[in-house]
């Protein structure tokens, strides 16, 4: 059994990389998969907070790389699931503490025992980004429906292609169907028109995200949560598993919008 290593990246900061990482990891774990989430944002770690595991950190990624502990000692088990682990970033160091080949080594160690390794990339295009994509089998690019985020996503996709990691798959996060309908926000079709890569999912703006991030309870975790973002993340996990979940993507422009509106109301 060999785990698939998925890196979540965006270029621009604040578009929801950490939220997507935490929720995808949780949603995959809910499907009974063995999942390790790695925070590669050394010096600015967040994933532990969003997953609600901050107070259980003893060792971190830099400790593993520098040989102060074994990999298994840095893996924090999330007790809410059968097999979900977090490998936190160090908060006191910087990106230079880890090299791309260190990341490949860590992931290779995880591969035999996991189904998925999900890596949260830092913002930017420098060393931290290179660390995060070095071990990736698949890259997920997160963007928001706004011009600056799409511009940065385009840059990132170019860099991913240069590293020969494929063009990646796209998640459009924080879309507000009502604003799109009024023409005040880029539509899904507008974003895809520029980026021209596969759409993996669309996550609507949802207050539940902020509330759950503050509580350290990714929205995807609650199977009964009717929040639309929660459902969106669970659908994306299904798609990663190869299941053909009927979604918002690939439909023509007007179709997407009307279906999205129905979907937000209907769930």
């Amino acid at each position: 059994m060999h785990a698939k290593v998925i890196t979540v990246t965006s270029g621009k900061g604040g578009v929801g990389k950490t939220t997507v990482t935490a929720n995808l990891a949780a949603a995959l774990a809910m499907l009974g998969k063995r999942v390790a989430a790695i925070d590669s944002d050394i010096g600015l770690r967040n994933l532990d907070v969003v997953m609600g595991l901050e107070n259980r950190i003893v060792y971190d990624l830099v400790d593993v790389v520098e040989g102060r502990c074994r990999l298994s000692q840095a893996m924090i088990r999330d007790k809410r699931f059968a097999e979900l682990y977090l490998i936190p970033a160090a908060q006191t160091r910087d990106k230079m503490a880890v090299s791309p080949s260190d990341m490949v080594l860590v992931c290779d160690q995880l591969r035999p025992d996991m189904d998925y390794v999900v890596i949260d990339s830092p913002a930017g295009i420098e060393r931290g980004f290179r660390n995060a994509i070095a071990p990736a089998d698949q890259v997920i690019v997160v963007t928001n429906p706004e011009v600056s985020a799409v511009r940065d996503a385009d840059r990132i996709i170019g860099l991913i292609e240069a590293e020969e990691k494929g063009p990646g798959q796209l998640i459009i996060n924080r879309i507000k169907p009502s604003m799109v309908a009024r023409g005040d926000m880029l539509s899904i079709a507008d974003v895809l028109d520029i980026l021209a890569i596969d759409l993996l999912g669309v996550v609507p703006e949802d207050e539940a995200i902020l509330i759950s991030s503050n509580r350290g309870l990714p929205v995807a975790m609650s199977a009964t949560n009717s929040a639309s973002a929660s459902q969106a993340f669970r659908n994306i996990a299904q798609r990663l598993e190869g299941n053909d979940v009927p979604i918002l993507d690939l439909a023509p422009q007007s179709g997407i919008l009307s279906r999205l509106r129905n979907w937000v109301r209907g769930e």
Partner: protein
């Protein structure tokens, strides 16, 4: 070190940092990489923390190979920022990695000799011996942040996205949507043209003329060609010139 003498690596301090020169033109990449590794191991304490200019001579290197070198240098705490290469393909690969391919503002060559700066260098192009009107064909979309620079004509089979730039001494043809910046006739040739299936650029330049398209432009439903007419850049439906 017992590395083979046939693959010498030159190390030299220049104004911009440290110059590493790969000399042997016939050596396979694996051997080059190994020699470089040995050289770095030997001189690590001396070179640590420096900015590296890599002169690969006439080696034809792929993006992945340059990326391997970049990783090797970064593991040794050195930062690769410029690749000097003779083959245009190697320079293009270096640019795809976000690396510079010439020494900006440098008026000395690699051996420290003074160079006469030609008008091409002043126009932001690589000063090279006239390489003729060769054309560069790029078979992919040019995404934000990428810069394609060429001394001849440039043809792109794909889009040119916002935030990307194409700079050519000759004509530029984009078989796709042109939404970024294109500079044709960059060394002063005002007869150069820019053609695109959909011409909706952020900015166009031909020779020393600059045009900013009107806001809220509706994309034309046909291919267009931009050229200089009476001192202005004008776009019109793309058809064979009389």
């Amino acid at each position: 070190m017992t590395g083979s003498k046939s693959t010498e690596i030159r190390v030299k301090g220049i104004r911009e940092g440290i110059l590493l020169g790969l000399n042997n033109h016939s050596a396979p990449f694996a051997e080059l990489l190994q020699r470089l590794q040995e050289e770095l191991a030997e001189k690590r304490t001396f070179l640590k923390g420096s900015r590296i200019v890599l002169d690969v001579g006439d080696h034809l290197l792929q993006r992945t190979q340059l990326a391997q070198i970049q990783t090797l240098l970064s593991e040794n705490e050195m930062e690769l920022w410029t690749v000097l290469a003779e083959p245009a393909a190697t320079r293009e690969a270096a640019r795809a990695l976000g690396l510079a391919t010439r020494l900006a503002g440098s008026n000395t060559d690699l051996d420290g000799n003074d160079l006469a700066i030609g008008s091409a260098a002043q126009a932001g192009l690589e000063a090279e011996a006239s390489s003729g009107a060769n054309a560069l064909l790029v078979l992919e979309t040019i995404r934000s942040g990428r810069s394609v620079q060429h001394e001849g004509h440039v043809t792109i089979l794909g889009d040119v996205n916002p935030g990307a730039q194409i700079i050519a001494r000759g004509h530029v043809v984009v078989w796709g949507r042109l939404r970024g910046m294109v500079h044709a006739g960059a060394s002063g040739d005002a007869s150069a043209v820019i053609c695109a299936l959909q011409l909706t650029p952020t900015q166009l330049r031909i020779a020393n003329h600059i045009a900013i398209p009107p806001e809220e432009q509706q994309p034309a439903l046909f291919p267009e060609m931009a050229s200089v007419r009476d001192g202005q850049i004008v776009a019109e439906p793309w058809r064979v010139r009389e």
